[in-house]
């Protein structure tokens, strides 16, 4: 097997965040998801929602592949008749957010510690009962991963994650 050092740069597999604007038409999500499964492309997350223009939806995809595969994915997305615009945000400066709801089984003893972690991550407690506590966490995918990792030692009962949404950043310079 080739080690990372031996793999030519263009064959290295990278994660890409791709933003797609589509005609807001019946079945648009199916067309995109169907294309990914028909072609056997990796699809880590997919989100879709309305935009400022009611006739247009925005889809944000997170996928993985080498340069050739990503090029094909973008071409195939463009080929769909309802596609208006495809942007691979990976090479641009972009903002991304993901939201997770994390339900944790708690006891009176560990509750303070959990709440402390939530606070560090600037999460919110949105539901509480004698036996559980539900956290809302937002941030980059990495940040959401991190809070989940920190909460893992406790008893996580359920997680719901939205998948990523992203937009290109307009601000130029250091953030």
């Amino acid at each position: 097997m080739a080690t990372a050092a031996e793999t030519p740069a263009d064959q290295a597999v990278h994660k890409h965040t791709i933003s797609v604007l589509l005609e807001n038409k019946f079945g648009a999500l199916n067309r995109v998801a169907g294309m990914f499964s028909a072609k056997g492309y990796n699809l880590e997350s997919i989100t879709v929602g309305p935009t400022e223009d009611a006739t247009v939806s925005r889809m944000t995809l997170v996928t993985k592949g080498d340069d050739a595969i990503i090029e094909q994915i973008i071409k195939q997305l463009n080929k769909l008749i309802d596609t208006l615009k495809v942007v691979d945000l990976t090479y641009e400066s972009f903002m991304e957010r993901e939201l997770a709801l994390i339900k944790i089984a708690t006891t009176a003893e560990n509750r303070p510690e959990i709440m402390q972690i939530v606070e560090i991550f600037q999460g919110k407690i949105i539901d509480i009962s004698h036996k559980t506590l539900t956290v809302e966490a937002t941030g980059s995918g990495q940040k959401v991963d991190a809070i989940i990792k920190m909460l893992k030692p406790f008893h996580i009962k359920e997680i719901a994650r939205t998948g990523r949404v992203a937009l290109k950043r307009e601000f130029v310079g250091e953030v």
Binding site: L22, E23, F26, G27, N30, R31, G34, M35, A38, A68, E71, Q72, K75, Q76, N78, K79, I81, D82, T83, L84
Partner: protein, 576 residues
Amino acid sequence: MTGAEIFVRSLIEEHVDVVFGYPGGAVIGIYDALHDISDIKHILTRHEQGAVHAAEGYAKASGKCGVALVTSGPGATNTVTGIADAYMDSVPIVVFTGQVALKLIGNDAFQEADIVGITRPVTKHNYLVRDVNELAATIKEAFYVATTGRPGPVLVDLPKDVMAMKTVFSYPKSVKMRSYIPHAEGNQKQLDKAVALIAKAKRPVLYVGGGTILANAAEELTAFARKTNIPVTTTLHGLGAFPETDELSMGMLGMHGTWYSNTAVNYCDLLIAVGARFDDRVTGRTDAFAPEAKKIHIDIDPSNISKNVKVDVPIVGDVKKVLQQLLPQVTALDTKDWRQTIRTWKEEHPLRYRNGKYIRMQHVIRAVSDATGGNAVMVSDVGQHQMWMAQFFRYVHPRTHLTSGGLGTMGFSLPASMGAAFARRDMPVISMSGDGGFQMNLQELATIREHNVPVKIIILNNGYLGMVRQWQELFWRKRYSHVEMFGPDYVKLAEAYGIPGLRATETHEVEGVVQQMLATQGPVLVEFKTVKEDNVYPMIPAGQTYHEIIDIPNDSSAPQTGEQESDLELVTIAKG
């Protein structure tokens, strides 16, 4: 006007002259609206698959859009093979399917099938019409999408209640879609790069595909090849784009292409792909395909560029337009040595077979080629005969070789030839099938008889699923598993349908029977009983490289019982 009436009026607006279809409950209203219409001929096929292949045959032979109309549920699912076939081969057709009433969709209603979901991966685009007010515009858009850019099948699903609702009919004059804008012209920067590469080439080859025919660019391509002196090889779908009587022609390349075209591609220093998609039947192992060549690729579908083989100069655009742009910028190349080398290869490794007392498929095909001078629309099926048709018929006009290449759908030929015959009256339309494929859609004999469609139907009967038998012989130790096949008495079968039937069992009868077939008015069926076991060569086994090519062995077309080795006569032909 009701939706059904709007549907019919819209087809008239699209200048649709023939619809291949099959009625049922969900489209009974549409059929009622068709009842008194004389501008559109409706051809009742005997199976919905036949209707779609007929629409494909019509489209491939004419360049216009083919149309099929079927009912919901089983009617719709029966179209799937034809639609997938059209998708793979970029055939412009619009398929209208009936659907249960909107309010019943999702209820497992009688004869409900989610045909929009089922066909999503095999259509260029599809629609479910939910509002009668959108019907006319949707039909307009469907024809536009099917026929522009890279053509392909479009399906429009028509719920029964929508077709009964009323609205004012107004057919849009034009289509404007902000999300779909095909580009015809090639980018000047890329064209300049191409011109520079062409000027430097010593051993160039034009690799011409179906896109050239889809773009109606055979004339431009021919002019381009002749102006630059570049030898031409075509794919299975490119046959007819360049006259195979021209010395620059090398016939087909690929798995069963000519020895010399594959050899030329292997040693060429410039490969110009023109509306061809680097299919695996053509490239074999992709990293070893045309290894010494710089590659230029003209294609209208950007996703086909550098998909299988990385190219140096991509030109996204319509073949016709791009060749028109390139033509004034290129000059004659000195390819004398290169052409001489190719001529030598042609002499040393021609297409060949050994003729004997019993009929070789190659011989029948050559006889039809000679008898028609290439002035025939040849519609092949899938199998050994298909490959020999590509090799031994000399194609001189575009749209005279119709075949199922991408999906390789057995049963294509008979219904497709019927569709082609509705589009073309200037040349005989000749269907050629193996005994296997013929039995897959033979129900259309009734349609052909009913409308007296003048197709000449040839069955090349080797009593085997020959192509599979060949693979079992070569790669599976000759363990023939379920490939020998009983068939009916085809002459009697034809007669049962009221179609004259002819038969030839020995080689000396072939020419006469071909003449008789061509002289027959209206439909006629001819069975050629051929030798059972013969193999198609040259052959580059799947996934291998040019270096593994197996040329036609000198002992192929082995003597049959009743033939002597010494009686066999070697026949050679070279394209170009």
